[in-house]
């Protein structure tokens, strides 16, 4: 180290070491402050803590998101945004065999025949005294007008009723305070009854039916009690009154111009359309006293029975209609600016909020003011005999939002309302009464509906709001031109909304309903009891398993248990036969379904829950020995859970035989 050379070397090394140090320092600066950035970041970690549901833990809330064009309803947890289940309602669903199995096919019958799809829009949970009671959830099929009732014990569709005289069943399905009625308004007015007539004679001739479907208190059974035949406007959305306004229902309308073409221009000519206020208690009284006109109709009523595990269709032939001008004091129009879309009622029942979708502002009507205007008969003319109230007399206030394109409003139960704005892509929080805007947060992107659990009842649970967007773009890893719609969760427990999570949804969520987990958790069914199975083709013990022929129809009574079918060898089936596999799952253990599929099955597999019987039709077309197997990985010996069907030529005289382990 004494010589110059080594000194030089040392200097060089020092130089290197200094630059290494400098780099290191710079790196620390960056990473150090980046860490700070991502802990900005410690912000997001506080958001992360809020949505983190640790493995094995469960969510605080259930959220039921409409699947839109999927035709189904999805079940999520909040705040985690995890999807638990897709409940088939209006669409065939091969995952469970819904709409493919013989038992569930009737659920999709309509007056138009078997319609295996619909556009599912607005879920609403049943209520008692204006609070969620967690018995059922109702949803509407928009396209071929239908209302469905889904059990919140089995999480299965139990009933679907078609709505006659309706088209584009959009202002549905909203529940009155004690689940007296499911209300279903038509978006498209149509000739009532339907007939062959020129389209351009729409004005004055088409009708908009508002259907009041009664719900039997014990069973939930649906029945159209009456339809109010309104002028030919578009009835867009609706909500029930509550508290003092219980007994009323409010519908937003557009196209009061009654145009029948180029609606984007012609339905926006009037500065104001209406919110229709319907006193259904008054009309109920009228029909209970024999009022109304029975009209010939044809609509399907499909009911699924948990004990027979079977759906049945009844075609109904009559509906009771009511001319609103025949019931004085039952229907009024509240002028509301700019083609109102959302029509929401606050938890107290006092305020009715109309969201003019081409506007920046929200119009809030007062129920109290409406009643005094009606009492004072302060009318501003009439439309088809229905009194129009004066805007100034019913309006409680205007929310000058500063946003663009208001759509829907939910409430937190603490005096605040939250409105989505499609065009300006944000949720705006404002105060009821003062109409002041308190906070606004962007959504990603172009939000449609939003949901606060219980947010449209007397008792909202104002902890989270879920914003359901129409456009996803760059929110997730790209998956080609088609992407699932995005949703964001905001913590609304404080003064300001806090964006805490972002998750993809399934289909297109139009509205959602949510409730605390404890309302449903303990009622969720685990198995169907085998000893209560009343399916006509059930076998409650394997020794009842058999095969019966009646002409070309063959019925196979089959049972399953881990890990075999009884029987698993079947001979004597012929080409051209119609073979019914009736399969009863003998498991009585939670979450042990068995599946069934057979080569060339023209429907779908079946997924059979413990204690349940389901049926699949198979029409063999080729001679041979064909396997069937269990589609659900049920057990360690799942791969062994299989069998064979021998198919002989149509002319064969081989007798039927069946066996297991012989």
């Amino acid at each position: 180290m004494n010589n110059i050379k080594s000194n030089f070397k040392l200097k060089q090394m020092k130089k290197i070491s200094y630059s290494v140090m400098a780099l290191f320092a710079a790196a620390t600066l960056f990473t150090g402050c980046n860490q700070q950035g991502s802990a900005n970041g410690a912000l997001s970690s506080s958001a992360a803590e809020k949505v983190y549901v640790a493995p094995g833990e469960q969510d605080e809330y259930y959220a039921f998101l409409s699947g839109g064009y999927s035709g189904n309803l999805t079940v999520y947890g909040l705040p985690s945004g995890r999807m638990f289940k897709e409940i088939p309602v209006f669409s065939q669903f091969p995952t469970s065999g819904y709409g493919y199995s013989e038992e569930t096919k009737p659920m999709l019958n309509t007056s138009f025949g078997f319609v295996p799809w619909d556009d599912l829009h607005h879920p609403d949970i049943s209520q008692t005294n204006g609070e969620l009671d967690g018995r059922w959830i109702f949803v509407n099929g928009n396209n071929t007008p239908r209302i469905a009732r889904v059990s919140l014990s089995t999480f299965e569709t139990e009933e679907i009723i078609e709505i006659p005289n309706s088209a584009g069943n959009h202002s549905s399905s909203f529940i009155t305070e004690n689940t007296e009625y499911v209300i279903a308004g038509t978006r498209f007015s149509v000739p009532v009854p339907q007939r062959d007539m020129p389209i351009n004679e729409y004005k004055g001739n088409f009708k908009g039916a508002l259907s009041f479907i009664s719900v039997a208190p014990e069973t939930g059974r649906l029945d159209i009690k009456f339809q109010v035949l309104m002028p030919g406007f578009n009835y867009d959305l609706s909500h029930p009154g509550r508290g003092a306004s219980h007994g009323w229902h409010f519908f937003s309308t557009y196209n009061t111009e009654e145009s029948n073409s180029l609606m984007e221009v012609n339905a926006s000519q009037n500065d104001k359309d209406f919110i229709a206020a319907v006193n259904w208690k008054k009309i109920e009284e009228y029909v209970n006293n024999g009022g109304g006109t029975k009209m010939a109709a044809n609509y399907a009523h499909n009911v699924y029975n948990d004990e027979t595990h079977m759906g049945t269709t009844t075609m109904k032939k009559e509906v009771l209609t009511v001319d609103p001008t025949e019931v004085p004091g039952a229907v009024f129009f509240l002028p509301t600016p700019k083609s109102p879309h959302g029509c929401d009622v606050d938890p107290s029942g006092e305020y009715i909020i109309g969201a003019g979708k081409l506007s920046a502002d929200l119009t809030v009507h007062s129920f109290t003011k409406m009643l005094s205007a009606i009492e004072g008969e302060k009318f501003d003319g009439e439309a088809y005999g229905i009194p129009i109230l004066k805007f100034e007399d019913v309006m409680a206030g205007v929310v000058r939002s500063g946003g663009l394109g208001p759509l829907h409003t939910e409430f937190d139960g603490k005096g605040n309302a939250y409105t989505t704005f499609f065009i300006s892509s944000e949720v705006v929080k404002w105060q009821l009464g003062s109409w002041e805007v308190i906070d606004r947060k962007p959504t990603y992107y172009s939000v449609g509906h939003l949901m606060i659990p219980g947010g449209n009842s007397r008792k909202p649970f104002g902890k989270y709001v879920v914003a359901m967007n129409k456009i996803t773009k760059d929110r997730y890893l790209p998956t080609g031109p088609e992407m699932e719609h995005s949703a964001q969760i905001y913590d609304i427990s404080g003064e300001k909304m806090e964006l805490i999570y972002d998750f993809p949804t399934h289909g297109e969520p139009h509205y959602a309903a949510g409730c605390p987990a404890e309302l449903l958790r303990d009622n969720s069914k685990k198995i169907y009891r085998l000893d209560e199975n009343k399916h006509p083709y059930a076998v409650t013990s394997p020794d009842q398993a058999r095969v019966e022929r009646s002409g070309k129809e063959v019925h196979i009574y089959m049972s399953t248990i881990r890990s075999h079918f009884t029987p698993d060898n079947i001979e004597g089936i012929k080409v051209g036969d119609k073979v019914y596999f009736h399969i009863t799952n003998h498991e009585q253990d939670f979450d042990v379904p068995h599946g069934f599929s057979i080569i060339g099955q023209n429907t779908s597999e079946l997924l059979i829950m413990p204690g349940q019987t389901k049926t699949s039709i198979w029409e063999p077309k080729q001679v041979g020995v064909w396997p069937f197997y269990c589609t659900d990985f049920c057990s360690a010996l799942h791969q062994e859970m299989q069998g064979y069907v021998r198919v002989s030529p149509a002319s064969s005289s081989l007798p039927l035989s069946w066996s297991l382990g012989e």
Partner: protein
Amino acid sequence: MKTIFQPKNWFSLLFLALLILACKTENRTNSTSNSTNDVELNKEQGQAFIQDDEATPNVLNIAIGSPDHTTLVAAVQAADLENVLVNAGPLMVFAPTNEAFDALPAGTVEDLLKPENKEALSNILKHHVTPGNYDKEFLKKFKKLGQANDQNTTVEVKGDDVYVGGAKILASIPAGNGIVHVVDKVILPPNE
């Protein structure tokens, strides 16, 4: 490597350690002071800032790309309206040229661009936007249009020309989310 541990370098190490510590402390204060805050939101976040060279340009892209609309674009940016203009809409934007802005009384534009006048500016700009998508020919069917600031504007046909709120349509460019009509005047909202 040995040299790193020479006494001369202890100072740098100490300095480094301090740096790290400093960062950490800062970190901690930050997280407490912001614990009630949102996930960090950048002003330049949202649909307007998505890179996309495949889709047809939207109304904002078109305005930004036009040398005749630099004043309009500056105004849109000052009013933070970028994200509104890239929305699914459909949006019909009446885009006054730079010349049209220049024709306003001296100082008007400068005043409007001041932060304290953001709301007034935003109102004027929204008065140039219709939720809709109609070409010039089709606009002749209208007598009035409902603008995004909640006020109406007029549509007049004079010969082959279409005037919206008194401003003449000079050219029209279809966009991915609507249409841009270039106009020769700034359309001032009517006094209510």
